[in-house]
Amino acid sequence: MASRPVVNAPPTVALDHIEELSRVAGEDGTLLAIRNQARACLVPLELPNRARHLWRYTNPARFLPESDPTAVAPIDVGSTWRLDEPLSVAALIAGGALRLVEVDATARKAGVVVEDLHRAPAGDLLGTVVPASHGFLEAINTAAWRGGVLVRIPAGISLEHPIRLRLVAGGLSLPRVLVVAGEDSSFEVIEGHVGGDRGTGKVIGVTEILVGKGADVRYGLVQRWEPGVVGHLTARARVLAGARFQMSLASFGGAAFKADVGAFLAGEGAEVETYGVAMGGDSQHFDHHTEHIHEAGKTHSNLDFKVALTGSARSAYTGMIRIAPGAAGSEAYQENRNLLLSENARAESIPELEILTDDVRCSHGATVSPLDPEQLFYLKSRGLPHLQAMRVIVYGFLDQTLARLPQTTRDRIAALVAARLHTD
């Protein structure tokens, strides 16, 4: 599709108080240097060009901070969290700070480290998966992030219970998460985004995950902001040889949400699976971008992303699969299905394939369709009222994808789906 370039006004994001922010947070010089580099990187960057695929459906200006994020005092949002399940780690970021860390005895004994990222010796890792040059919003986050956590799982450690990170939106939030999975470690980590109950909130978040050789990491990114929140989340994993990374993505809340998530399959035999569901209603705007970047040979990726929309909700999905010249013997599959439950809902689906080597297997599929009247009639003929029939169809549509997730995550997301179905 030919489209005219859209000229954006030059961005005006001031970042004048980086030194003070870094000093108050107790950071060492390495982290400060990373911030300053990011600011320098930002200067020549322009707002993402809306003619480019990634921003064709969403106005990037919506996500910009309205004032200097290094000067804004974070809002102290309420941060109660009822922990009602066995967890290896619970960590809460709210009001621009890491507020709560609990590590259970088994994880502690195993050497699991959970630290305030501001004070962690993470200078050699921060920005290695999502560098500031990734994009405008990532550069802002790297220069001005506030409230972060480092989770480090030693080599060879398997955690029975999940790690749960909760990030609470409120005012302007720029959280940063860094997860380091040691060789042959195995665990599940869920990053839950909530909050914004004061009606508004802006979030620019970045998460980096380093998956060591042979590790097995299940990562969940669950977004259920209150209505009104506008947020952009970037998450990337670098997956080394023989490792497996499974990402589950669940998007429910906010007024406008853009997610840019994916993985680099950086070592031979790496496996990446991404399973996601998004449910939008009213005038919600979703824009999901996924990337599976095959850098090494014999790597395997699979993606299944489902979207269900009601009201006048909008969704755009762009899915990039890139298979680098050196990645022979790789396989990549991508499927995106969209179900429109109302006449005014709209969805776009754009697969993007860059296959730079011959010896690959690759496929993609995309559909956008309304509810099937024959399915509805069938369920109604069995006594299910219209609304219930609709819910059953939507639940089934999404649950096919959720069925591939770890049971507890599946149950949790399924409960959110069910709750959402009963409020629409």
């Binding site: 069938y378 369920l379 109604k380 069995r382 006594g383 059953v392 089934g396 549509f397």
Partner: protein, 255 residues
């Protein structure tokens, strides 16, 4: 059959249109509890339109009166008809991926009975009915009709019939596409439902099913009308002679 009972189903003056086109051109039917009526007719005569239209498929415009167990349900949507005891076994059951047979049936049974059936109790009942129909219990966990063979789909329709225990059931070509073993199982299910006083209309164009299920009345359906009604012997006559000999009756506008 109970000749003194009140009809479970009665329709009068039923005309069904798709858009401007009239497909069903005036049908009257009365079914008593535990009665089996066979509606036989050539392809394209409007049998399936009659069955789907009576249940309330949104494609069709239905005129006439439909009384279910004494209550006028003519204007009701399909789900209300179902909750009042009407059932349609589909000729082409629809797949609902992501929804298991068990969870779907529990929702349907709860809707029709008007109470939430406890999981354990429901499960026990479901497995018993599946055993009656010689179905692998693993079916309960499969997605509804998703990737099922023709015969499996028909068995699941009959499973629903037995679980939902309707007062009146329309079976649209439930016998088509079945091998002889599956046909016997389906017939057993139909006979079980009838012995529980379900009134039944079997829409079919083969006599085959009627070797195992004994109709009280056989109706011949041609060009949107019932052109002749008789006993079981009429089905055998159709098998032998085909439908051509009834064409004058059809042209004359039916019985």
């Amino acid at each position: 059959m109970n000749n003194h009972a009140k009809p479970v189903f009665q329709c009068t003056g039923v005309h069904i249109h798709i858009g401007e086109k009239e497909i069903v051109k005036g049908v009257d039917l009365t079914v008593l509890p535990g009665e089996i009526h066979a509606i036989m007719g050539p392809n394209g005569s409007g049998k399936s339109t009659l069955a789907n239209g009576l249940m309330g498929h949104p494609t069709y415009t239905v005129e006439g009166t439909v009384i279910l167990a004494g209550e006028d349900v003519s204007a009701m949507p399909p789900d209300e008809k179902a909750r009042r005891g009407m059932f349609l076994a589909f000729q082409y059951p629809v797949a609902v991926p992501g929804v298991t047979v068990a969870s779907f049936l529990r929702a349907a049974v709860s809707a029709v009975r008007g109470v939430d059936v406890p999981v354990r109790e429901f499960r026990k009942e479901l497995l018993a009915r599946m055993e009656d129909l010689e179905m692998d219990p693993a079916f309960a966990g499969r997605y509804l009709n998703d990737g099922f063979s023709g015969g499996e789909k028909k068995r699941v329709e009959i499973l629903q019939l037995l679980m939902l225990k309707p007062k009146f059931a329309l079976l649209d070509e439930t016998d088509s596409g079945l091998d002889i073993d599956a046909l016997k199982v389906v017939a057993k299910g139909i006979n079980t439902a009838v012995s529980n006083d379900t009134g039944m209309v079997l829409v079919t164009h083969y006599q085959r099913l009627l070797n195992y299920v004994h109709p009280d009345v056989v109706h011949v359906f041609m060009d949107g009308r019932i052109v002749r009604a008789g006993g079981p012997e009429l089905a055998l006559e159709l098998e032998e002679r085909g439908y051509d000999w009834l064409e004058p009756a059809a042209a004359a506008g039916g019985v």
